[in-house]
């Protein structure tokens, strides 16, 4: 059957590029592998040359695949399932990339593109390590190409092609017609939750982090393969630093995104998807430290191998967890069950890389040199190793908890997550924070091999004092209010707070006293300072996070989280109704729902909420701002909510609409009652009375901000409710070429509609029509938080990334010009993204 209007050429082209990429990466793997086995330099180089050509062909093919997908999506070729599923014509252009990342094969494509970029860097820079390192990278490329291949080999489907046709994938009567394309008007479009600029930027950064973890892994393999067991560490360190910076930033971008646009009420929830990328990062950082220890002292080489290998293995394990749908009930993220063939392929990727590397490691473990003399307890390397071990164990802890669904599916058990998932992580991780804070504060001051203790104690005295004083001041003047988990946990929070402040002070001090202010060499200290500043920010912002949209008990403290009256959790009423135009007290603010308005996209609705803080005595407005959280109202009475945040240097006010579906809104059974009144006359209604004060002809301005297009008359009415609150109403009547326009006024607080209905025939009285609605007319339910000092989290992250990049620049021996450019770009970019771009 011939279908009309299809553009099949581009799909065929794209698919052939995938096959080329697969073949080229396979050939490149084999050629690099052979090259790595050759001893003869000339022979080795000829194989490398051949392998490079294959790799470059692969790079060109992968980029072309991306080009084809981009072309299909930007031209809305809906005959392709990719375009049909992810794009829609109303979408802004910037979301086109987001549409591509949204798809499972799109994210694999992103991963493989980054491997291409990193591969080119390695070919340029890795010198004698190129052959074994690129063997690993190319081999991973073979698997990634298979993920998007979508061909049948011996009746088994391998991967999912991004170029499948809509009509082949889904059933529908319209596909029986040759002109079916003319019936499909538009694609399904990007999930509303993902229409956010972070969706454009977060996946590329995170996947660059994912992709770059293969390099330390590949170097570790190269160390074993070449039998130069220790030499790989030095060239691998800059890449590990790069990876730690990018992956760290990528993870926290996800946090910032969640904070800004999802209604979690926070930036971290220990969700399995978040954990899946945190675990490799922790192991990577552990590995980074043992690698530095090895380079300086010759200790910890075996640990460096293990951590470099496990970092990448856990990246693959994360892919397995998040792509195969196995997490099922435990995550808020929506997973796509990719099909059994895909699951097997991902598992194969994990098993082949994981088992091969670990087997190679354990076969050779005896050959890997280790120093037999033990480190002294006053040496830097000993405590660095302990810190790495703590990082590694905390990673295993997080991974074990995240893997509960896997354990359930393997052993058929029925373990479920605990009552308070976040707390079950926090109570362990707060101890990790204490240990890491203390170690990263003190260890800097120790010297490799052995340390004269007296000197160190002297140097540490000032930071110790600063940290003690700061923490005590915080405890007195700005105490942590997280009482929910009892005094034990509160104490642990204070310990962690002290440890992280201690580390900030000690690392800042070390730049000055230990390095004599030599900033170039201070990358490590800056990274530690940033990391612990971030931890301190997390403790303060989460420990003092306050829900202000609560009505009950706002004036007294409930220590243990259980309300003594109802024996319920004290978070029972964290949502508040706001009736339009009636202000309500929330924490320090009076909040008023002003009005709502429609957004550009269908179903999007903005709610304009006025926040005012008034002086308690003078009633003067001290602070005033409008937040515009929005909601997508979807079919079937569904909604999806996007928060809005007012950022201050010291805190954020964060709010979102928790319920906006008001079925009564359009059902109004009230009737207008017309009264004929003269100036000064009174009209009574059920809840009070109103007086017609006077009539203004052709007013210069009006309440409704409508441009007058003809003669107009306004009735000025004062309404007095039973509780003696006064309101003003000013219904208007205007005569222009279109006829008579009655512009009604609404007093939402009293459920009143007031209409200027006309003038009596004797022209002496006005007709004022009043409708009392028995239903509440318009309201939204909102939830609002104050996040104090959340900026510390973002600043800490940015500082950490800058520190890591500084170390990378120094250890990679970049020229000072290149180094400066890189550093400035990174610093400006991150600062803009995390602190200014909203």
């Amino acid at each position: 059957m011939q279908f009309e209007g299809e553009h099949l050429w581009i799909g065929t082209l794209g698919h052939s590029f995938i096959l080329i990429a697969f073949t080229a990466s396979l050939l490149s793997t084999i050629a690099y592998f052979i090259a790595s086995q050759k001893q003869d330099a000339a022979e080795k180089y000829s194989w490398i040359k051949y392998a490079r050509v294959c790799f470059f062909v692969e790079v060109a093919a992968v980029l072309s695949v991306f080009g084809c997908i981009f072309y299909i999506c930007s031209h809305h070729y809906l005959e392709y399932l990719y375009a049909y599923k992810h794009t829609s014509k109303e979408l802004e252009f910037k979301y086109l990339l987001a549409c591509i990342w949204e798809d499972q094969s799109g994210s694999f494509l992103l991963w493989t593109i980054w491997h291409c970029v990193l591969g080119i860097v390695l070919i340029k820079k890795a010198k004698e390590w190129e052959a074994p390192v690129m063997t690993v990278v190319s081999f991973a490329q073979v698997f990634l190409a298979m993920m998007i291949m979508g061909v049948y080999i011996f009746g088994i489907k391998i991967g999912n092609s991004p170029f499948v046709l809509t009509r082949n994938e889904i059933n529908g009567p319209i596909f029986g017609r040759t002109d079916y394309l003319s019936l499909i008007k538009d694609g399904v479009g990007l999930n509303v939750l993902l229409r956010n600029y972070w969706m454009v930027i977060h996946p590329p950064v995170l996947f660059l982090g994912f992709a770059s973890t293969i390099i330390p892994f590949a170097f570790a393999y190269a160390g074993i393969q070449t039998k130069r067991f220790g030499d790989w560490v030095k060239p691998a360190i800059p890449y590990a630093l790069f990876s730690a910076a990018v992956l760290g930033v990528g993870i926290m971008m996800g946090g910032k995104w969640a904070y800004e646009s999802l209604s979690f009420g926070g930036y971290w929830a220990w969700d399995p998807v978040e954990n899946a990328s945190l675990v490799p990062w922790l192991i990577l950082v552990a590995g980074l430290h043992t690698m530095v220890v090895y380079k300086a002292t010759g200790h910890s080489l075996r640990a460096s191998y293990l951590f470099a290998i496990l970092t990448f293995v856990f990246i693959l394990y994360s892919t397995f967890l998040t792509r195969t749908g196995i997490l099922g009930d435990t995550s808020v993220h929506a997973f796509t069950e990719a099909g059994k063939a895909m699951n097997v392929l991902i598992l194969l990727f994990l098993v082949i890389f994981g088992i091969t590397s670990l087997v190679l490691f354990f076969i050779n473990i005896k050959k890997i040199p280790a120093v037999h003399k033990e480190e002294t307890t006053s040496s830097r390397e000993f405590w660095m190793f302990i810190a790495s071990l703590v990082f590694f164990l905390s990673a295993l802890f997080i991974s074990a908890k995240t893997s509960i669904p896997v354990i359930n599916s393997v052993f058929g058990s029925k373990l479920a997550p605990p009552e308070d998932v976040e707390f079950s992580y926090n109570k362990v991780m707060v101890l990790v924070a204490v240990i890491i804070g203390l170690l990263s504060a003190i260890t800097q001051y120790l010297k490799y091999k052995d340390t004269p203790i007296k000197n160190t104690v002297k140097k540490l005295a000032v930071p110790t004092l600063i940290a003690l004083v700061t923490t005590s001041l915080l405890a007195i003047f700005y105490p942590i209010t997280y009482h929910k988990q009892g005094p034990g946990f509160l104490g642990a929070l204070y310990f962690a707070l002290f440890a992280s402040i201690y580390s900030v002070a000690a690392n800042a001090g070390y730049i000055w006293s230990g390095l004599n202010g030599k900033l170039k060499a201070a990358g490590g200290s800056i990274a530690h300072l940033g990391f612990t500043l971030m931890i301190a920010g997390m403790l303060i912002s989460a420990g003092n996070r306050e829900v202000i949209s609560t009505e009950k008990f706002k004036d007294f403290d409930i220590p243990m989280g259980i309300d003594p009256l109802t024996k319920q959790q004290d978070n029972a009423s964290e949502n508040m109704n706001l009736i339009r135009q009636v202000s309500k007290k929330m924490g320090p603010y009076d909040v008023t729902y002003l009005y709502d308005s429609a957004g550009l996209e269908t179903g999007k609705r903005y709610y304009h909420l006025l926040f005012q803080r008034k002086d308690a005595n003078t009633k003067q407005v001290k602070e005033s701002f409008v937040l515009n959280p929005d909601v997508y109202l979807m079919k079937n009475n569904n909604m999806s909510s996007n928060p809005d945040t007012k950022n201050y240097l010291s805190h954020d006010v964060f709010t979102y609409i928790s319920y906006a579906l008001n079925p009564d809104r359009d059902k109004d059974t009230g009737q207008y009652k017309i009264s004929e009144v003269a100036e000064g006359d009174t009209i009574f209604y059920s809840n009070g009375f109103m007086v017609l004060n006077n009539v203004t002809k052709n007013p210069e301005t009006n309440k409704f901000k409508i441009a007058l297009t003809g003669p107009a008359v306004v009735a000025n009415i004062t309404i007095t409710a039973k509780d003696s609150t006064k309101y003003n109403a000013a219904p208007m009547i205007m005569i222009d070429s279109m006829g008579i326009n009655q512009i009604d006024d609404t007093i939402y607080a009293q459920n009143l509609y007031i209409k200027f209905a006309g003038i009596t025939t004797d022209q002496k009285k006005l007709k004022i029509a009043v409708k009392e609605s028995d239903k509440m007319i318009d309201f939204v339910t909102i939830k609002a938080y104050i996040f104090p000092y959340i900026n510390l989290v973002w600043i800490g992250l940015v500082v950490m990334a800058i520190g890591l990049i500084m170390s990378m620049i120094r250890r990679a021996n970049l020229s000072s010009k290149t180094g400066a450019i890189v550093l400035i770009l990174v610093a400006v970019g991150l600062f803009y993204m995390f602190l200014l771009a909203n």
Binding site: F175, I184, T336, L393, F397, K401, L415, V428, K783
Partner: protein
């Protein structure tokens, strides 16, 4: 004491600590009848919304009170009370995971996880439905 002993001790201490934390912290997936027997204990219920009985949610009076009847695959049913706003798509979900405690005859729910067919865009049924709608 040898340095390596300190390392091993640290590792063991942390591992034991973590294990204890873990073991205390599991809850279970239960059926409605088994949850009834575990009064006041935190459990997960996998159930579905009983659409034949109208749910009670009047946001105008109290946005923090939702009550409905849930049925599990064994046919048992219970009243569920949730002190929060009604999750969007509750009526459309095929399956809901309720976290909370049985208090007498009422399941006091602290969190609801929805499993909605519409969240999974790859779900072919949804796409088929959308295609079906595009036929005008």
């Amino acid at each position: 004491m040898k340095r390596s002993h300190i390392v091993i001790l640290v590792a063991i201490a942390i591992a034991i600590g973590a294990l204890i934390m873990l073991s205390v912290d599991f809850s279970t997936y239960d059926t409605i009848s088994s949850a009834r027997k575990k009064q006041g204990k935190f459990v997960h219920l996998i159930a579905r919304l009983d659409k034949t009985i109208p749910m009670d949610y009047d946001p105008a009076t109290n946005p923090n009170y939702l009550s409905f009847v849930a049925t599990d695959s064994l046919g048992a049913s219970t009243k569920v009370v949730y002190h929060n706003t009604k999750p969007a798509e509750l009526e459309q979900s095929e399956r809901i995971v309720l976290k909370g405690k049985m208090q007498g005859d009422v399941f006091e729910c602290s969190d609801i996880l929805l499993k909605c067919p519409s969240k999974y865009k790859d779900d072919k049924k949804v796409l088929e439905k959308t295609v079906g709608e595009s036929k005008l």
